[in-house]
Symmetry: C2
Subunit: 350 residues, 2 copies
């Protein structure tokens, strides 16, 4: 992998902006010296920091952005009033081909609305989705939608399956990812109508990857499939439930080791190993949710992410860009369209 790659950064998004954004870019640059950055933000906030970061400064072009999109602003308001915001300018840089991807820790709804408007959806996509990856017993898996669409019909779910598949091939490096629909039981008759219809379509259409059928909540962490497909409501609840459970377990573990002198001593001995465990479940490693289905790469970093988390989100954006992710997805979606036209008489319910 050679050649330089430019990433546009919203320096004003997130709880720790702009510090975490700039320090994150610095970490990402150390890991991947071929990166260049277009940094959008308020000059009085960003420039003093950037001035102190010599190496980053050599690979970053700063552009002043008058406005900042607030965390509580509704997407429709952000679209209207945020035309000169750092978030919007970062997205526009991708549209104008100045950058290969945009990364922001800002307001998710606003970022999605701006990305949709500026980048447009790819042909064959009714609604974009949010995807991310996470650790499992078998390695790593991808889940989508994580919250872009509160309700979804069967066609949306089928498109998410195609999009998630392309994502897994690009990010996880899998040749033929397996994918499943999240449901309340693995039996064919379970779940609501949209799931039944989507499963019927996915069984009938030849897509890249292996359709596994339905999976359940515990299959997410098991890694039963490489791609878990679900609506944005269920995906968001599942993701946050898993995050909350990890925190609870960590808390229990901490109090366990404080339980006795012997346990504390045991903890000291096991400390280096425990540090590896913590790194393995560290949410910062899995930071970076991607908006799938758009004609361009936009990555949402967690609002609370620190520099290390932001560096991971930049790394994810760079990976996607290098692997020609948008072209892969465009090809898959075109194949879905053709397959659908071919099978249309059989798939009456679609």
């Amino acid at each position: 992998m050679t050649g330089r790659l430019t990433i546009a950064l919203d320096a004003m998004g997130g709880d720790h902006a702009p510090g975490a954004v700039l320090r994150g870019a610095n970490i990402a640059l150390r890991r991947n010296p071929n990166l260049d950055f277009l940094v959008y933000g308020r000059s009085e906030a960003v420039e003093p920091l950037l001035k102190k970061m010599k190496r980053l400064k050599g690979h970053a072009e700063f552009v002043h952005a008058e406005d900042v999109v607030g965390n509580e602003v509704k997407p429709s308001v952000a679209l209207r009033t945020g035309r000169k915001s750092s978030m919007r300018l970062a997205i526009e840089a991708v549209k104008g081909n100045l950058a290969k991807a945009a990364v922001s820790s800002g307001n998710t709804g606003a970022l999605m609305a701006m990305a949709k408007l500026a980048l447009r959806t790819l042909p064959g996509v009714d609604r974009p989705a949010i995807a991310s990856f996470f650790p499992t017993q078998r390695g790593e898996s991808v889940m989508l939608d994580l919250g872009a669409n509160v309700t979804c019909d069967a066609d949306n779910l089928v498109q998410f399956a195609v999009m998630g598949n392309a994502f897994a091939r690009s990010v996880l490096g899998l040749q033929s990812p397996s994918y499943g629909l999240l449901n309340v039981g693995a039996e064919e008759m379970k779940g609501h109508d949209a799931l039944q219809d989507a499963a019927a379509q996915l069984r009938g259409i030849a897509l890249p990857g292996q359709f596994h059928g339905f999976v359940e909540g515990d299959d997410i962490a098991k890694g039963t499939v490489d791609v878990v497909v679900t609506d944005g409501f269920t995906g968001n609840v599942a993701l946050k439930t898993a995050e909350g459970t990890v925190k609870l377990y960590t808390e229990f573990l901490r109090s366990t080791f404080r339980h006795s002198l012997l346990a504390s001593l045991g903890y000291l001995l096991a400390k280096p190993a425990m540090r590896k465990l913590r790194a393995r479940v560290d949410p910062r490693r899995y930071n970076g949710a991607v908006f799938l289905g758009l004609n361009g790469i936009a990555v949402k970093s967690h609002g609370g992410s620190d520099a290390l988390g932001f560096a991971h989100a930049i790394g994810l954006a760079a990976d996607l860009a290098r692997h020609g992710f948008i072209d892969t997805m465009r090809g898959d979606l075109a194949a879905l369209g053709t397959a659908r036209d071919d099978t249309a008489p059989q798939v009456a319910a679609s």
Copy 2:
């Protein structure tokens, strides 16, 4: 708490029946000597085991049941063909007031269908729900529905809130439980219409307990509210996602301690404390899902539960019976009906 209490047991339900059921009853009896059991099952499977369990035999009346409800049988088929099944007879014992509660590890859908038919729903309940409790950072909380209803409207959710509240008061011993609606954001405008409507109703009606508003997936393990109210699809996915995450973390923990000699030694020293941790997250401790909204107590034990898990499910059934749970719930539902009639002109959307 004095006075004897009879629990009806489906001895043939679950992966380890009838052994786990009988040994579970034996453990429950040791913990609570005031229990008596009505044991339903096939005589050739149950009686030889029961004969060897002297103490249990003194507190158990065995009744032969010709049929067994299979795990794969559809609820409608079980209703038609399972009239002489151990599951059905256990439920009928509650209906006929021979027992105060029924416990089964068998087919969930069949058990729910039989319980609904025999026990009927309480006045004011459109659909029964499945509830269970689980550990949180603050202690224990209750969640419902866990899978009885794949789709729910606002009225269902409001009724679940009332039912979950009564459950939390009886089982967790709380005077005024807090409750929240599971959503994809805590902001008032988030989520689909049924959630919006339910929140509006819950804000308008004075119920026992404190309405907290919306909660998110990570609030479940945090224990932000005592009662998490959701539809059966989301609740089922959330519950199983949490279970899967605990297993994943446990697996990671195990491999961490195998990581080095030092870590293994550390584990040895911390072992007694670790055992307490395992007990704290042991799913057997939280075994027992209750069908809420019926005119009688029916507890579903996990299909894979062993004797200890089954004993916990019996303990839960006994707790509910002793606390007059059905009367509490009947009173709360009547109050909801009255409150609704009073506020009807304001709550046009209901």
